[in-house]
Amino acid sequence: MESVHALGLKGPQTSDKQFLTFRLDGQDYGISILKIQEIKGWDKVTPIPNSPAYVKGVLNLRGVIVPVIDLRLRFGLVEAERDIFTVIIVANVGGRLAGIVVDAVSDVINVDSEHLCEAPEYEGQQNREFIKGLAQVEGKLLVLLDIDRLVNPESLDKTTAATSVAVNG
């Protein structure tokens, strides 16, 4: 992150940040590319008992057990059919790995800092904590997500208690 930032200082034409964009229920989202380890196709996962519904289970990533979060369920959307476009984005946040299921990945784009803006206050109360900001790119609105908050263990734990009632295999 720092190195990108340093680049940004060198000249105004170099973009501040690169984001991986993906689609979720018709909306475009972006995650800082520095947090992404890899992207892999959808694979069957092993469910973890007594976990929130959006934790779909765990995945064997070359011998490492990685939890997989369905972002649709995380945001309270309806679960989608898995198709050939469904992918798991494996994020690495401070050494902890987590997979995120999204509808499809789109692109890697540069976002200049001048195009970034704060998320407005009235933008839905529930998931606001995960939104880092908004960006206007090529006429489309891109929601930039705070991946750290999305996958950190406390947020998984905190919501466990709240959502465990809604668990259904």
Binding site: I48, G57, P153, V165, N168
Partner: protein, 675 residues
């Protein structure tokens, strides 16, 4: 150059500390021998003395090489006293042994200060050194009345190696080699090997010439003169070599012992050569199998299919062997942990004026090194507790009709995939009244609560509990039994306590053999596979529906041979669609942990297999009812069930607190909470 030397320093420190640990153990043996005979002195076993001497000697040698003058000076004094002891000039009385133990401590602190660069308590060390130096001059004045007179003064055991090769004309001088051999045999333990290398062909043998030679090993308290005397008649008619062999080759200290005495803090691991050999062997076989497989693969035809399968079977075997030998390298005998307790018991019993003997049983039981390292403190604590609180003073013991000496028994054995360690004392046992009163005083339980003796005994595992009336500096320092239990639990083990007032207390520790691999049984629940640790499984039975009962206000129970246990439906617990809700379609796996049983209802048993434990919390978090995850042969992840956790859950009965929905197919929609 300086850097190079420092590199060796580390090895020297490690070896020296190991040597000191050896010395300590041997000195304690000496003292125990003295105590057993009720004597002040011991007829010191020369082997023990030699071991102690060797350790001191190598420390002296090493430290002078590296220029640790303080250590050299002290080790030299110690060595000279030990040498005197070996020669019989100094008798190892108990006082002397105590002093030697103290000097071991001094040497250790000197070595540690050389290692860390910090100054030790020089005054104490100097005073001990003075005492050591004065030791010999005192000795003759004290009457040697207790010196054992059974053995000749030069009665140390020697190991002689004699090569006796008579010249051809020996018979002409009227000597019979057989007579000589018989006489040697009378002296002590005698092993004779004949050398027939110069025996000519049958047709060339002359009956009056002696072609044979002998190699004789002679062990016993035999001075050289005696041997020379026997050979005096033939000494001119033969070639004769008489050598004294160093004692260590006689009774080689087992490698296990050497490994056992290694320092826990050292980051290195000593592995016995046979173990490494086995490993290399297996790797060799693995390479052969690999070559074979690639050969089959390079020109594959279906005719080769059977060979391919044979190869894969072989690979399977090799892999298992490799895994076993790698695991065994990490295994150490428990004596390594047990021996640490000897010194503590020795010092403590002297300070408390109690007579205590430690008894070890099954100390050769092997367990993972990580487990041992983290086991020493809990064991130390348990033994110290037994000594301090359990064992009574000698007078008290005699009054209670018990022998004066208290016994603390440490017994280790393997049971299934577990190692069980019992720490048992024959002391006064736990006082339930005192524990209860204390717990009430500390506000841990209410005075009106009605607890069973077992529940009261369990109270001592609560944090901050200590009944000792006067907090001694030996135990009761705030580090309580709760730490012991937590330590053991963190190793995946458990602690149980059994006590009988007036008869003693017994702590039973159960520990897994290793922390990395688990023997498991895979079970099917719906479309999911779960792993049950084999150690927890008692049996599997077909369910008889009439045996399932549901007492009011309680969870489902299953009666198996007049024993009732909670029945847990894994499909409900884990919200998995079961194959069938009909009981007769599934199986009940009876599991046990911490002395309690439960029945787990599963769809099917699949396979018994070894699984590699993968921590779930590395990237996720701990999950109730699940101890870890593993990866199955097909690459999918399976959950390893936390049986103790499930049983606790079943017995506290929170699982079925919500209205039961198990009779409807929508059981997976039920919302039992686990928290």
């Amino acid at each position: 150059m300086a850097i190079d030397m420092r590199q060796f320093h580390q090895t020297f420190f490690e070896e020296s500390l190991e040597g000191l640990a050896n010395m300590e153990t041997e000195l304690l043996h000496l003292e125990k021998a003295a105590a057993n005979k009720g004597q002040e002195t011991v007829a010191a076993d020369p082997e023990i003395l030699n071991t102690i001497f060797r350790a001191a000697h190598s420390i002296k040698g090493g430290s002078s090489t590296f220029g640790f003058e303080d250590v050299v000076g002290f080790a030299h004094v110690l060595e000279s006293r030990l040498d005197a002891m070996r020669d019989g000039r100094l008798t190892p009385t108990r006082n002397v042994i105590s002093l030697l133990l103290l000097s071991v401590d001094c040497l250790r602190s000197l070595i540690i200060s050389a290692r860390t660069g910090k100054e030790g308590d020089n005054n104490a060390i100097d005073s001990i050194r003075k005492q050591l130096e004065n030791l010999e001059s005192e000795q003759p004045s004290s009457p040697p009345l207790t010196v054992p007179v059974l053995k000749p003064p030069q009665g140390t055991i020697s190991h002689w190696q004699i090569t006796f090769r008579p010249h051809l004309h020996l018979f002409h001088t009227g000597n019979d080699p057989l007579r000589i051999l018989r006489e040697l045999d009378d002296l002590g333990e005698c092993r004779v090997q004949v050398d027939i290398s110069s025996l000519p062909g049958w047709d060339q043998i002359k009956p009056e010439e002696c072609y044979l030679g002998w190699k004789i090993e002679l062990i016993g308290p035999i001075p050289r003169e005696t041997i020379n005397e026997i050979f005096s008649w033939v000494v001119d008619d033969c070639s004769l070599e008489i050598d004294r062999k160093p004692m260590q080759s006689l009774a080689p200290r087992s490698i296990a012992e050497a490994v056992a005495s290694m320092d826990a803090q050292a980051g290195t691991l000593r592995v016995s050569v046979p173990k490494v050999d086995a490993l290399i062997n297996t790797v060799g076989e693995l390479v052969i199998t690999q070559t074979m497989l690639s050969l089959i693969a390079s020109n594959f035809s279906f005719d080769n299919l059977s060979r391919l399968f044979a190869g894969i079977t072989q690979l399977e075997r090799n892999t298992r062997e490799l895994q076993e030998s790698v695991m065994s390298i990490r295994m150490l005998p428990l004596s390594f942990a047990f021996n640490r307790l000897l010194r503590m018991a020795h010092d403590m019993s002297q300070r408390l004026g109690k007579k205590v003997e430690l008894i070890f049983q099954g100390e050769q039981t092997e367990i993972d090194k990580t487990v041992i390292d983290r086991l020493i403190d809990p064991l130390m604590h348990l033994a110290r507790n037994s000594l301090d609180h359990g064992i009574e003073l000698p007078a008290e013991r005699l009054a209670a009709g018990k022998p004066e000496t208290g016994y603390i028994t440490l017994k280790a054995y393997q049971k299934g995939g577990n190692v069980v360690i019992e720490v048992r004392d024959d002391g006064r046992g736990l006082s339930h009244e005192r524990i209860f009163a204390k717990a009430v005083e500390r506000g841990m339980v209410s005075s009106s609560s009605n607890l069973s003796p077992e529940e009261i005994a369990e109270l001592i595992f609560l944090p901050g509990f200590s009944t000792t009336e006067s907090v001694s500096d030996l135990s009761g320092r705030g580090v309580g039994m709760d730490v012991v239990r937590n330590n053991i639990r963190s190793l995946g083990g458990s602690v149980e306590i059994a006590t009988q007032p007036g008869r003693g207390t017994c702590f039973t520790l159960r520990l897994p053999l290793t922390l990395a691999i688990l023997d498991g049984l895979s079970v099917q629940v719906g479309d999911q596979t779960y792993i049950l640790p084999l150690v927890n499984i008692v049996e599997s039975v077909r369910i008889l529906p009439q045996q399932v009962s549901r007492p009011v206000g309680s969870s489902e129970m299953y009666g198996l041979r007049k024993e009732f246990m909670p029945l847990l439906r894994l499909n409900e617990l884990f919200h998995v669609e079961s194959r069938s809700t009909d009981f007769s379609q599934g199986l009940l796996v009876i599991v046990e942990a911490e002395g309690k049983k439960a029945g787990l209802y599963v769809d099917d048993l699949l396979d018994q297999q070894q699984v590699v434990i993968k921590n779930l919390a590395t990237h996720y978090r701990k999950v109730e009812g699940i101890s870890a995850a593993t990866i199955l042969g097909d690459g999918t992840v399976a959950m390893i069930l936390d049986v103790p956790g499930l049983i606790r859950l079943a017995h506290t009965g929170t699982v079925h607190a919500t209205p039961h929905a198990g009779d409807s197919p929508a059981s997976s929609m039920a919302t039992p909470t686990l928290n």
